[in-house]
C-alpha cells in the first residue's frame, strides 16, 4: 500500500516523533533508576542509599586505616570527611596516587553492616585532572586535599 501523498509526510513525522518521544521518556525513567549518586561519608551514615545500589563515595582516606588483606590484592581502608567514617574494601590494582590522607572517590555499593564495597577507585591523577566531585567538596575538605596531595 502506497500511502496517499497528502498523508505520507505527516504519518512519517508522527511515527518518528512518537518513537523519539518514547525514547526520551524511557531514558528519563531509566536515568532516575540507574544514575549513580555521589555521597560524602556524613551523608552516607545519616541517610544511606539502598543496599546494592550503585553510588559513589568521596572523601579522604583516613591516616593509618589502609590495610592489605592476606590475599595480597584486597585492601581495606576508611573514608572520612571530618564528621563521619565509612569502611571500604576494594579488590584490584589501586591507582598510583592513592595514598593515606589523600582524596579518593570510590565507585561501588553499600553492603552488609555499613561496609562499602568499591569496584573502582578514582584518585587525583595530576594537577589537571581532579574527579569532579572533589572540586565541589566543602572548603575544609578541599584544603585538606590540596595540602595532602600537592
Amino acid at each position: 500500500m502506497v500511502i496517499k501523498a497528502k498523508h505520507q509526510r505527516l504519518v512519517l513525522l508522527i511515527g518518528a516523533l512518537v518513537v523519539l518521544l518514547g525514547a526520551g521518556l524511557l531514558a528519563a525513567w531509566a536515568l532516575r533508576n540507574q544514575a549513580s549518586y555521589f555521597y560524602v561519608p556524613s551523608e552516607m551514615t545519616t541517610n544511606p542509599p539502598e543496599r546494592g545500589r550503585a553510588v559513589r563515595l568521596g572523601g579522604m582516606v583516613e591516616k593509618g586505616s589502609l590495610k592489605t588483606l592476606p590475599d595480597g590484592v584486597t585492601i581495606a581502608f576508611v573514608v572520612e570527611d571530618g564528621k563521619a567514617r565509612v569502611p571500604v574494601t576494594f579488590r584490584g590494582i589501586v591507582p598510583s596516587l592513592f595514598v593515606e590522607g589523600s582524596g579518593v572517590v570510590a565507585e561501588g555499593r553499600l553492603g552488609e553492616g555499613g561496609l562499602f564495597m568499591a569496584d573502582n577507585l578514582l584518585a587525583k591523577h595530576d594537577e589537571n585532572y581532579v574527579p569532579r566531585e572533589m572540586q565541589d567538596m566543602t572548603d575544609a575538605q578541599a584544603k585538606n586535599v590540596v595540602a595532602e596531595t600537592e
Binding site: V2, I3, Q8, A27, S36, G72, I93, P131
Partner: protein, 658 residues
C-alpha cells in the same frame, strides 16, 4: 619568528573568511552578483593559510621553542620527536587550531572541485562554511591564541600527560577531527541548499562523498580510540561510556543516519527535509562534542584543564550556529516540497526505520551524557554509566539490526516480505541453532546472548544482497554496503563474546608462581627495573603458555613512572591469537605484613575480543569502497557528459562548414 608567521597567517585566514562570507552572501542578491567570483579563490587561499598556521605550530613544537607559552606548558625537550609533534594537538589551543585548519581546507577543497551544483548553491554553501569557521577563528584569536609568547622563556617545559605519550595519540585526534569537521561541509551544503531552495537529488549527490568521507574518519577514529583506551588505560575495558567517547559516538550515529537518508534522496528523491535536518544535526553533534570535551564541563579521563571562559565561548558559538540553522530550517522547511512517495515495506521504509532508531539511540546517548549537568543544576551529583547506556541503547539497536538484515534486499518504492522471506530462511535457522547452542552452554546474560545470536544471523544476511549477482559486475558501492554491514556483525560478535566469555584473575604472585586463567598458564618469571627516554619502570617477565602443549611466549607488562610531569601509568601487555587476546597488567608490590615479595598481576583472557576493532575497520573499509565507487561513477558521468558536449560541438562545426 615562526610563531609570528603562524599568527599572521591565522589573522589573514580569518580576514579571508570575512570576505568569503560577505561576498558569498552578497552574490546571492541581484546587485552583488559580480562578487561571486571572489568566493572560490578566497576559500582556497583561506585553506592554505590555515594550513600554514598549523605547520608553524607543529614546527615550534618540533624544535621545542619554549618562548611560546603553549609549548612551555605542554612539551618538554626530552620527549621523543614523534610525541613532540603529536603534542601539537594534544592540548586545547593546538586542537582548536587543527579544527579550523581542517575546516578551512575542507572549504577550499569544495571551492576547488565542486562543479555539479548550481553556482548560487555553492556560493551559499561556502558562505555558510565561512560563517561557521569565523566563529572558531574568533575563538582561537581572542580566547585561546596558540602562538602567545612567554617572556622570559622558561628553561624547561611542563611536559605532556604521560597517558597521552603514545603512538595512538598521534593519529587518534586528527582522525576524529577530520570526521567532525567533514560534517561541517554537510552542514554548509544543507544551509546552501536551503537558502537557494535546491534540496534535491543533485544536492544529495554532491553532499554524499563528504558525508561518506567524514563518516569513514569518524568510524576509524572511534575504533582507534576504543583500542587506545583498551590497551593504554589498563582497565581491560574497550568502551566506558565516557563523555568524550560519547562525544565521538553521537556525531557518528547522526552521520550514519545521514549517510543512509542521503542515498535515499540521491536515488529516489524522497526524505528531502529529513536529510537537510540530519545534515544540521550531525554537525551540531560534532560541536556539542567539542563543547563537552573542550569546556571540561564533564568528568572525564580526557578532560584537560577546566576553563569556564572558553566553555561559555564555545557554548555561544554552539547557540549561534545550531540556533541559526534551526531557524533557517523552520523558515524554509515549508518550501521544501514533498519528495517521491513509497510504501512502508520498501527499501525506503527500512531506511526510515533505521534512521529513526539511530536517532533514538542518539537521543539516549545525548540525554545520558548531559544528565549529570541537568542534575547538578538541581543540586544532585550523579554519574551515568553502563547500567543506563547498555540496555537503553540495546533496546533500539536490536530492532535496527533486525531491519538491517532485511532492508538491503527490499526493492525501492514497494515490496512484499514474502519475496525476501525465502532468502532469510537460512539466516533464521542459523539464529535458532546459535540460540539453542548458547542455551545449552548456559550462563550467558541476556544482552550478550542476543548479541551473539544476532551477530551470527546478520553475518549471513549481510551477504545476501550479493546473491544472484555477477560478482564481477557488482558495483563497488554495493560491495561497500555488504562489507560495512558484515563488519557490524563482526564487531557485534566481538563485543558479545567479550562480555559473555571473558575470564579474569587478580593475583598477588611471588616470582616463580604459576597462575591459570582460562586456557592459559602464566608464570611470573622475574621483576626487573627498566628505563626509557623520560621514564623508569618495573617490568614483569611473564612466561605464558596456551593449553597443555602450547609454545611458551614472553609477555612484559610494565608499571611506568614518568618524571615530566611526575605520574605513573601501567603499560599492559597483550598477546593476540586468532581466537582472542591475553591481557596482562602489572600493579605494585602487595603491601602489608604478608605482602613482601608478592606482586599484583591482573590477567584477562578475552575470547574473540579483537573482532570488535576488526569489525570497526571492516565498517570503515566498506565506507572506503562505497566512496571509491561513488567517486568513480561521478567521474565517469562527468567524462561522458564532456564527450557528449564535444561531439555536439564538432557536429555543429561540421554543419557550419557544410
Amino acid at each position: 619568528m615562526t610563531a609570528e608567521i603562524g599568527l599572521a597567517a591565522l589573522w589573514l585566514a580569518a580576514g579571508l573568511a570575512v570576505l568569503q562570507l560577505l561576498a558569498g552572501s552578497l552574490a546571492l542578491t541581484r546587485r552583488g552578483e559580480a562578487l561571486g567570483g571572489a568566493v572560490r579563490p578566497a576559500a582556497v587561499v583561506q585553506g592554505v593559510l590555515s594550513l600554514v598556521a598549523f605547520l608553524c605550530l607543529i614546527y615550534v613544537f618540533a624544535v621545542t621553542d619554549l618562548s611560546v607559552k603553549l609549548v612551555a606548558l605542554n612539551s618538554h625537550s626530552m620527549k621523543p620527536l614523534v610525541f613532540k609533534i603529536a603534542g601539537t594537538w594534544g592540548n586545547h589551543e593546538g586542537s582548536m587550531l587543527l579544527w579550523v585548519t581542517v575546516m578551512g581546507m575542507a572549504g577550499g577543497f569544495v571551492a576547488l572541485i565542486e562543479r555539479r551544483l548550481p553556482e548560487r548553491t555553492i556560493l551559499a554553501t561556502l558562505a555558510g562554511q565561512a560563517f561557521v569557521s569565523l566563529g572558531f577563528y574568533a575563538f582561537l584569536l581572542i580566547a585561546s591564541n596558540p602562538f602567545e609568547r612567554l617572556s622570559p622563556a622558561p628553561r624547561e617545559g611542563n611536559g605532556l600527560n604521560p597517558l597521552l605519550q603514545d603512538l595512538g595519540l598521534a593519529f587518534h585526534p586528527p582522525t576524529l577531527y577530520l570526521g567532525y569537521v567533514g560534517l561541517s561541509v554537510a552542514f554548509s551544503f544543507a544551509i546552501g541548499a536551503l537558502v537557494t531552495r535546491e534540496v534535491g537529488p543533485a544536492f544529495a549527490r554532491a553532499m554524499r562523498p563528504w558525508v561518506l568521507a567524514a563518516w569513514i574518519f569518524l568510524t576509524v577514529g572511534i575504533t582507534a580510540g576504543s583500542y587506545w583506551a583498551y590497551y593504554e588505560l589498563g582497565w581491560g575495558g574497550w568502551w566506558f561510556w565516557d563523555p568524550v567517547e560519547n562525544a565521538s559516538l553521537m556525531p557518528w550515529l547522526a552521520a550514519t543516519a545521514l549517510l543512509h537518508s542521503v542515498s535515499v534522496l540521491a536515488s529516489r528523491d524522497a526524505l528531502r527535509a529529513w536529510t537537510v535536518m540530519l545534515g544540521v544535526v550531525a554537525f551540531s553533534m560534532s560541536m556539542i562534542g567539542t563543547f563537552l570535551v573542550r569546556s571540561g564541563i564533564l568528568t572525564s579521563v580526557h578532560a584537560f584543564a577546566v576553563d569556564p571562559e572558553r566553555g561559555s565561548f564555545i557554548l555561544a558559538l554552539l547557540a549561534i550556529n545550531i540556533g541559526g540553522a534551526l531557524i533557517l530550517f523552520a523558515l524554509r522547511a515549508a518550501t521544501v516540497t514533498e519528495g517521491e512517495r513509497f510504501a512502508l515495506i520498501s527499501r525506503e521504509g527500512a531506511l526510515v526505520f533505521n534512521n529513526v532508531m539511530l536517532s533514538a539511540i542518539l537521543g539516549i546517548v545525548l540525554f545520558g551524557t548531559l544528565y549529570p549537568l541537568l542534575a547538578e543544576a538541581m543540586g544532585a551529583k550523579v554519574s551515568v554509566g553502563p547500567p543506563y547506556f547498555n540496555p537503553m541503547s540495546a533496546l533500539f539497536a536490536f530492532p535496527m539490526l533486525l531491519v538491517l538484515a532485511v532492508g538491503p534486499m527490499l526493492r525501492w518504492r514497494r515490496d512484499k516480505f514474502v519475496r525476501v522471506g525465502k532468502a532469510l530462511v537460512l539466516p533464521g535457522m542459523l539464529v535458532v541453532a546459535a540460540g539453542l547452542g548458547l542455551l545449552i552452554w548456559g550462563g550467558v546474560a541476556l544482552l550478550p546472548f542476543l548479541g551473539l545470536v544476532f551477530a551470527v544471523g546478520l553475518a549471513l544476511a549481510s551477504l545476501l544482497p550479493l546473491k544472484g549477482r555477477s560478482l564481477r559486475r557488482t558495483p563497488l558501492a554495493v560491495w561497500g554496503m555488504v562489507t560495512a554491514h558484515f563488519g557490524i556483525a563482526v564487531a557485534l560478535f566481538g563485543m558479545s563474546c567479550e562480555s559473555a566469555f571473558t575470564v579474569e584473575r587478580l593475583v598477588a604472585a611471588k616470582v616463580g608462581d604459576v597462575t591459570e586463567v582460562g586456557p592459559w598458564a602464566i608464570k611470573l618469571d622475574a621483576i626487573e627495573p627498566v628505563a626509557g627516554p623520560n621514564w623508569t619502570a618495573l617490568e614483569a617477565r611473564l612466561l605464558v603458555r596456551y593449553g597443555a602443549d602450547g609454545k611458551v611466549v614472553r609477555l612484559t607488562p610494565q608499571s611506568r613512572s614518568f618524571w615530566a610531569p611526575p605520574q605513573q601509568t601501567s603499560e599492559s601487555a597483550l598477546l593476540t591469537r586468532w581466537n582472542g587476546q591475553l591481557y596482562a597488567v602489572l600493579g605494585g608490590e602487595a603491601a602489608g605484613e604478608t605482602g613482601e615479595g608478592r606482586w599484583q598481576v591482573r590477567l584477562w583472557w578475552k575470547p574473540f575480543v579483537p573482532m570488535i576493532w576488526l569489525g570497526g575497520l571492516l565498517v570503515a573499509f566498506g565506507g572506503v569502497l562505497a566512496l571509491m565507487g561513488r567517486v568513480a561513477s561521478d567521474l565517469r558521468r562527468t567524462i561522458a557528459r564532456g564527450r557528449v558536449a564535444d561531439r555536439q560541438e564538432s557536429r555543429a562545426l561540421l554543419k557550419e562548414r557544410a
